[in-house]
């Protein structure tokens, strides 16, 4: 589905994007993600297509705000029956129950929202939105109101049901994990839409620094293009010369930022050291800190460059990494992503 919208208030926004399958609108808070969803739902004045000129109650969209907005005075079943007011009462209940079954939660029918967990509330809200038989689903920060510990598991199941239903879905989020699950990602900044494409493409090749941050890059090495040679670009960066893949736009002398994911900074095993090719940008330095993060470890490397690293436990155990140790890391050219500086 093609979406073209122009908003004036509360943010100025002119946007043309494609919603395909599960599409994530990725952006920092305050760039207008929620406003765009509300405009699509008819809750904010805007020009554009589809649905232009229709009042909110006439638009075939399912809208889920961040906290799901279940009616607290109605049971789950009554909530789902709310959009089915055009049906006779018996038919209405039966239909509402069908939508709860569709989301796998028929047993929650008699419960009130305050008796439901965040994940359960989300499913009831989705069942209610689906009862409207929408042509487009709009989800505002669908993972933010979920319990952090179980959020990925809980939402993966919801996502699977959404995929089965095959309704185009636009989810506004700043959650890189969610964007990774998407069929399509559109990156929004205060300047407008910056990039859109498949999630693999956007994650591997963000077009600028802001997008690189949004998709989870943590190391940003500022430098200058020193030379271009075939497939390679040489980057002078804090006294070090890094070899990277040459992007089409690079010109000698141009300032660039080399972006590296923390988990793609590779700690070199001393016994493998001699086998490594020279172009792998080997750097020697000290491990400044090492802290557990989830099941891995986040470390700080200080050598010719400062780097943030994320290691799986087994690497730390095998290499016996400790704070204060001298280590060698490698920045493989294929993991060095260049954006204009």
């Amino acid at each position: 589905m093609e979406v073209e919208y122009v908003l004036e208030h509360p943010v100025r926004l002119e946007i043309a994007l494609q919603v395909q399958g599960f599409t994530v609108l990725l952006g920092e808070s305050g760039v207008g993600k929620t406003s765009l969803l509300k405009a699509l739902a008819g809750l904010l004045p805007a020009r554009g297509r589809p649905f232009a000129g229709l009042r909110a109650e006439q638009r075939p969209v399912g809208y889920l705000p961040q906290h799901f907005a279940l009616f607290p005075h109605l049971s789950a079943l009554e909530n789902v029956a709310f959009p089915l007011a055009h049906l006779p009462p018996a038919r209405r209940r039966a239909k509402a129950l069908e939508f709860l079954e569709l989301m796998g939660i028929p047993s929650l029918a008699p419960r009130y929202p305050r008796q439901l967990s965040g994940g359960q509330q989300q499913r009831v809200a989705l069942a209610r939105a689906l009862a409207r038989e929408p042509q487009l689903l709009l989800l505002d920060e669908p993972t933010s109101a979920l319990d952090v510990a179980t959020r990925e598991e809980v939402f993966s199941e919801v996502l699977a049901s959404l995929r089965d239903l095959n309704i185009p879905t636009l989810a506004a989020s700043h959650d890189p994990w969610l964007a990774q699950q998407a069929d399509r990602v559109a990156v929004l900044s205060a300047r407008g839409l910056i990039q859109q494409g498949s999630s693999t493409e956007v994650f591997a090749h963000p077009v600028d620094l802001g997008t690189a941050r949004l998709v989870g890059f943590r190391n940003f090495l500022r430098g200058v293009v020193e030379g271009l040679e075939g497939e390679n670009a040489w980057i002078a960066c804090g006294g070090v010369r890094l070899r990277a893949r040459r992007p089409g736009w690079a010109r000698p002398g141009q300032p660039v930022v080399a972006c590296v994911r923390s988990d793609e900074v590779i700690v070199v095993r001393p016994d493998r050291r001699p086998e490594l090719p020279v172009q792998d940008n080997l750097l020697s330095g000290t491990l400044l800190s090492l802290k557990p993060e989830g099941l891995g470890l986040r470390g700080r490397f200080s050598g010719p460059l400062e780097l943030d690293l994320l290691l799986p436990r087994h690497v730390q155990e095998r290499l016996g990494l400790e704070v204060g140790r001298t280590i060698e890391v490698s920045l493989k050219p294929q993991y060095l992503h260049l954006v204009p500086g």
Binding site: F71, A129, D147
Partner: protein, 225 residues
């Protein structure tokens, strides 16, 4: 005692109903709409809260009394009548009703109202099926509070209505007159009735508010569950 009691209850009932109809929509506008001059309007409407009842009563008397604008334009002289003290009582209790109703509406999450519209409900259905059920306990407790407050009204009623038995002599004024006449036993009986009524009403309001809180607090789920 029966005559002033019935008069007082009638005044309280009519004042509460009038304010529900008048202050209800006004409170909705103040709670949910942004417009120029809202602060000014709110201040003006809350003014009777801080004015001495005698000041308010004085101006009402000028407005409603002989040769007042109401008589000149409509031929109505409402001073020293039941209708007169009803108007005084409505104006005097407007801030109380308004601030309670406004709170009742304010706690309704805008997300609920907007989502209801995306689910196909027009404004009228949103009002009937979302706003009113959610605000009902708050509206009811505000109305009871006004009712209780009118039971004890003195200054404004005395200024606008004086103390005519059967017409404007409410319980609190009756107690005052009994005390002046040193009929202390009767004064005590009447006062006890007022204490009992006030206690019962406050208890009802409290339980309503507890219900209301448990209802509205669930509109935003806690992420920790």
């Amino acid at each position: 005692m029966l005559e002033p009691l019935l008069l007082t209850l009638r005044l309280a009932l009519l004042t509460s109903l009038a304010l529900l109809l008048l202050a209800g929509p006004l409170a909705w506008v103040l709670a949910k709409r942004e417009f120029r001059g809202r602060g000014l309007l709110e201040t003006l409407l809350l003014l009777p809260l801080v004015l001495p009842p005698t000041v308010l009563g004085f101006y009402l008397l000028l407005l409603l009394g002989k040769n007042g604008p109401l008589q000149q334009w409509f031929g109505l002289s409402l001073a020293f009548t039941f209708e007169g003290i009803l108007i005084g009582s409505v104006v005097f209790n407007l801030p109380l009703a308004l601030s309670n109703y406004r709170e009742a509406f304010r706690t309704i999450d805008d997300d609920l109202l907007q989502t209801a519209r995306t689910l196909g409900a027009g404004r009228w259905r949103v009002l009937r099926e979302v706003v009113l059920p959610l605000a009902a306990p708050g509206l009811l407790s505000g109305t009871l509070l006004v009712f209780a407050h009118v039971l004890g009204e003195f200054g404004v009623v005395l200024m606008v209505g004086g103390s005519l038995p059967g017409e404007t002599q409410v319980l609190s004024i009756y107690i005052y007159e009994l005390t002046q006449a040193l009929r202390l036993e009767e004064a005590n009986r009447v006062a006890l009735v007022l204490v009992g009524l006030a206690f019962g009403l406050l208890l009802a309001i409290r339980s309503l508010e507890a219900r209301w809180k448990s209802n509205t607090s669930s509109s935003t789920p806690s992420a920790s569950r």
